[in-house]
Amino acid sequence: MINNRYLHYLFRLVLGGVFIWAGIIKITNPLGFAQDISNYQILPQSISFFLALFLPWIEVICGVFIITGLFLRSSSLFFCGLLGGFLILIIVTLIRGIDVECGCFGSLSRHVDYKLLLTDCALLFFSLNIFFYRKS
């Protein structure tokens, strides 16, 4: 893990900004996001629907907390969980060969591919760094 103060702030800013942006896009179109979750063909319709209602709020709230420094460790842990779960979902989707939009940024989403896998890994690395960061 990188224990540099400036990089720590940069990671927080990038991660928080990305999740706030992604969350707001989804909050404005919950049915679209529910459809995106449903397209992965893993969860039943009802779970996709209810997840789509509160998951974007977790992204926005944790994004704000990450940037402001409030509840920093728990917010970064949430992001680790979300990104870790999404990583598994991407791998499963690629193995199953389903051509699906990731649903990460509403209509700006891109298809699930290896580039998305790398982006997810980078964000997961940021989250883990924030979680394990210790002031020296």
Partner: protein, 159 residues
Amino acid sequence: MKKLLTHIGFIMALSVLLGFGTNVRLIKQFLGGEFQYGFISLEEDPSINFIMLPEAEELFSMNETLFIDSRLAEAFKAGHIFGAVNIPFEDKMDTILLEELSIPKEKSIVVYCNGSLCQSSAGLAKFLQDQGFINIRVFFGGWKEWQMEGLPVEKNDDK
């Protein structure tokens, strides 16, 4: 550790509260069974109706309805409902293909995709509604159900 769990619980509770609190109307619609065919609000999209095989078959036999296949061109060429045209659904649809087909706005249209799990038919129906078409139905069972019932199909068509 206890502090961490408390914070996680707080974030979770706040998110659920905000998520459910700001979407009461959608939750009521969901509990009323509105989204069982796909996440399209029938209230906001009144021109779209979902139909089952018997109604699709009836409309087909009356020969006045245009069947539109929303699957990719390769899947369409491999086999489709007899007489159907192909408008592959994409996230950023353009109107060129629609203009080429010059379909009257009041024409009775049935959109279908692979089966009940695919979503492109509902997406295309919504796009058609936005383009001013007023008589759109989505055939829920789609190509799989039609084919399984041994109803008229054709293939290797470049339409």
